[in-house]
């Protein structure tokens, strides 16, 4: 078998060396009644050619986003990723290396993490960032728990503009940990009164900007209200490119910034693997979950990098750890970092501008269709479209016409009275032809 180097005679020699007659002797501790006799009911080994054929057949049963005009975001964004990124992350030394616990032979990974941490801190305008979490939603949940530890309170207030699945993740964690959550109603127009929900028992306020409905928000007054009550502001984002166009968490006095990094360097991959970004103020660093790469020197005085402040983590602190996280999202963080290194601040700002310009042009086209309303006064690259038709069936109708038109809000927020709303996203990958196709298809669907 192509992945198993030992042959029969070698196995025999090894058994002799061990001093047992057969391989079953090494499985003797398994209770006799529970040993599998023969093989399990599954197909036998297949050649590479056969496996490729089988998997390709399955792959062909999904529609690839790049093959149609595509306008769906809502937490995951289709970006053009430079060819360099995927090439580099497939280098053996990045792809098949382990967590850098032996720093002498892991300086590649450690230096990349140090650069990544710096990039995330710069992007969010915060002081320090960790080496990644699983994704934006779990980073959000971890930020909530961190706020509880810092304030010694356990009541969080969650904006109605936070991605509904992020809300569910926080709610599940809170319920299990015995914490309290105040969930504000879905906030289509960013006009909820969050400050009114904050009191002296609030540990944190969790607000997304740009929010789930595409509205950029000014979180500065919310930060002030939170701080006045001894609570923390957690600012969330779902597209890292947005931070190059709208005000960043740090500029708005957030205490913790968390978000999804998939939008740089990482393909859509039907929802994972993604990469959680997590940044905070330097004074909170000991309560921050996740790994941290730090700078030091080696025995010859050469600058080096090493995982540090490990006493926060599970392998040392065990039940008193800041989190149970072990494996994070190293390779996805690398992809994010390479993409951002190629872009630089200048390129990222220009990329954000193109995203915004494309969204603006799309909005203009769509709003020209009778009975189509663009809800948002302001947006970055996502906005809400309202039509007389129920959004879910409209999206299906558009799909039949070869256009992926966005997310029907009712899919993630059933029963919120927003069944006529679609969240439409636009990135730099959309062309003028795409926009024309969408407008055309939408126009016919609404006749």
């Amino acid at each position: 078998m192509r992945y198993l180097p030992l042959d029969a005679s070698e196995r025999g020699a090894m058994l002799s060396r061990i001093g047992v007659p057969n391989i079953e002797a090494l499985f003797a501790d398994i209770p006799a009644d529970n040993r599998i006799q023969g093989l399990l009911d599954m197909p036998l080994a297949k050649s590479e050619m056969a496996v490729e054929r089988a998997m390709t057949t399955i792959a062909n049963r999904s529609l690839a986003a790049g093959s149609v005009p595509f306008f769906l975001g809502s937490g995951a964004y289709r970006r053009h990723i430079p060819a360099t990124v995927d090439h580099l992350i497939q280098r053996s030394e990045f792809l098949t290396s382990y967590t850098p616990y032996q720093p002498e032979i892991a300086q590649g990974t450690l230096q990349v993490l140090f650069e990544f941490q710096t990039q995330v801190a710069a992007l969010t305008a915060m002081e320090v960032a960790n080496a990644s979490m699983y994704d934006g939603s779990t980073a959000c949940g971890e930020a909530m728990l961190m706020a509880h530890r810092l304030t010694r309170r356990n009541r969080s207030v969650i904006s109605g503009g936070l991605h509904p699945q992020y809300v569910d993740v926080c709610a599940t964690l809170a319920h299990m940990a015995g914490d309290k959550i105040v969930r504000l109603a879905p906030d289509l127009k960013a006009n909820e009164d969050i400050a009114a929900a904050i009191d002296n028992e609030t540990s944190c306020v969790i607000v997304q900007s740009p929010d789930f409905f595409g509205n950029p928000r000014d979180l500065t007054p919310i930060a002030a209200a939170a701080h006045a009550h001894g609570a923390l502001l957690i600012a969330v984002f779902t597209d890292p490119v947005a931070l190059a166009a709208v005000r960043s968490p740090g500029e708005m006095d957030a205490d913790i910034a968390v978000g999804e990094g998939q939008g740089l360097g990482n393909a859509l991959n039907f929802g994972g693997p993604y990469v959680g970004l997590f940044a905070t103020r330097a004074k909170n660093v000991r309560q921050m979950p996740g790994r941290l790469a730090g700078e030091t020197v080696d025995a010859e005085g050469r600058r080096s990098f090493v995982l540090t402040l490990s006493t926060r983590e599970q392998h040392i602190r065990r039940e008193k750890a800041t989190s149970n996280i072990c494996t994070n999202s190293g390779l996805c963080a690398l992809a994010f970092s390479i993409h951002l290194t190629l872009l630089g601040g200048v390129g990222l700002e220009r990329l954000a501008k193109v995203n915004h310009a494309n969204a603006v042009q799309l909005a203009e086209r769509l709003s020209a269709i009778p009975s189509v309303e663009i809800v948002n006064p302001h947006f970055f690259n996502e906005f809400v479209v309202r039509t007389p038709r129920p959004a879910a069936e409209l999206i299906e109708a558009l799909a039949k016409r070869g256009v992926i038109g966005g997310l029907p809000v009712s899919r993630l927020l059933p029963g919120a009275g927003l069944d006529d709303c679609i969240i439409v996203a636009s990135t730099e990958t959309n062309t003028e032809d795409d926009r024309a196709a969408y407008a055309q298809a939408l126009g016919s669907c609404l006749q």
């Binding site: 078998m1 992945y3 198993l4 030992l6 090894m14 090494l26 499985f27 599998i36 399990l40 009911d41 599954m42 399955i58 062909n60 999904s62 529609l63 986003a65 790049g66 995951a76 430079p82 580099l88 053996s92 990045f94 792809l95 382990y98 850098p100 002498e104 032979i105 892991a106 990974t109 230096q111 140090f114 305008a125 934006g136 993740v169 940990a177 190059a244 005000r247 991959n269 039907f270 994972g272 990469v275 730090g294 030091t296 080696d298 010859e300 005085g301 602190r317 065990r318 008193k320 750890a321 999202s329 390779l331 390479i338 290194t341 630089g344 200048v346 990222l348 220009r350 042009q361 997310l407």
Partner: protein, 514 residues
Amino acid sequence: MNVQGRPTRPETVASSMGETFTGNRGLDMEEALIFETGRFDATGVDIDEPPSFHSKLGPHGRHSAIELPGLTEPEAIRHYVRLSRNNYSIDAGLYPLGSCTMKHNPRLNEKMARLPGFADVHPLQPVSTAQGALEVIEALSNALLTLTGMDAIAMSPKAGAHGELCGMMAIKAAIEARGEGETRHMVLVPDSAHGTNPATAALIGYSVRSIPAGEDGIVGAEAVRSALAPDVAAIMLTNPNTCGLFEREIIGIADAIHEAGAYFYCDGANFNAIVGKTRPGDLGVDAMHINLHKTFSTPHGGGGPGAGPVVLSSRLAAYAPVPFVVREGGALRLIEHADGCESFGRMCAFHGQMGMFVRALTFILSHGADGLRQASEDAVLSANYIRASLNDVMSAPFGDRPCMHEALFDDRWLKDTGLTTLDFAKAMIDEGYHPMTVYFPLIVHGAMLIEPTESESKASLDLFIMAIRNLAIAAKAGEGRGFQAAPVHAPRRRLDETRAARQPVLRWTKPAPV
């Protein structure tokens, strides 16, 4: 008092004049940070300026510039290629890391994961346009259920620790559904457990009661019985355990747990030892996470991404988190909302680590029932081969007995040499090996845990054994100084970890103008 401290600073910090002008040593190259080599006004991506348009950002535009350097493609490739060469990797050599299962990462997995029908599919596309993606989830679920003999599976956890959290949340939900949420607040955890186990229990409000391993390195059913009380919600047991041994009293343990009205969580990190040989479902397990990045070959990537799907018994199936994939007639549907069913909620946005599912499914299809069983047998065979070849020069904590897929040694054999497990590990680096897992499990002094996996040829195993034997003999012959200076051939010598923790520098900062 925690006795896990060890030296974290090199003996000498002497700056050495590089023998070369560049500081490079042939192919062994120094590489600065992008913030030092890149230009802050440059970009390596060509993006056309959009035609003029009316901004819709309103008052929300960012004010401060993002000060990050850009590198052109040739500069970027050189930067990352040079960095990569400072990393050890499975592709370059054996990683004997116990409990990590550093097996070969098949390249077919990478090719399949990049098919547009897998990689370029958005999680929220209309489900009718994502049937292939759902089929991968269904096929992998079925395979994992067959391999484990369990009744249901939660696919969404993003890593092993996340899977532990999922399994324990399902248990907590089941207990609350029985109305015993107030009384059962204790979780039994062997003292040999991985740190994620007690950390997970604590995250959801459980207290931990430690169970000591016996003299033979396994958990006794009697020890479990004595620790059981009406306040126990669950036990978290690793099988095979972190000492590399099969918990042979597992049936008795499972019975005791269930009789007491508690649940059996199994940490499946070491599943590679028993795939195709026994099924956790037959052993009384209620929930077990599977590390796809261990047993099923998805690449470690320098620290993730992983994937930690959780198989569940019929006792817990109803509480599985959303989303799950169901087949209705000819089509696959995604259940995304927990209302209307007993699901305990949601672990993460979207549907799980699809990219890792494709890789794991490709691995399973490649190996098949026969290949998977052979892989486990070879993993166990190789570990025992190493054990039998080293147990005359190194000491094993639980006597001369077979292990499963990993061999455990302690540091008693280093007594009187003045050397520690750490020194021995660093000397391995100069021999071209990543050290084995050290100082884990915590119950064994100076532990050394070696797991070769099934991916090593006999020649590779023999070379490894030769190197370790000779190092062990040298250590015992009193050649201490070489060990304490090691590594000398790696890109870096021992690091000052004390300084890194006392004066944390966690990012590059622009130097103040002179």
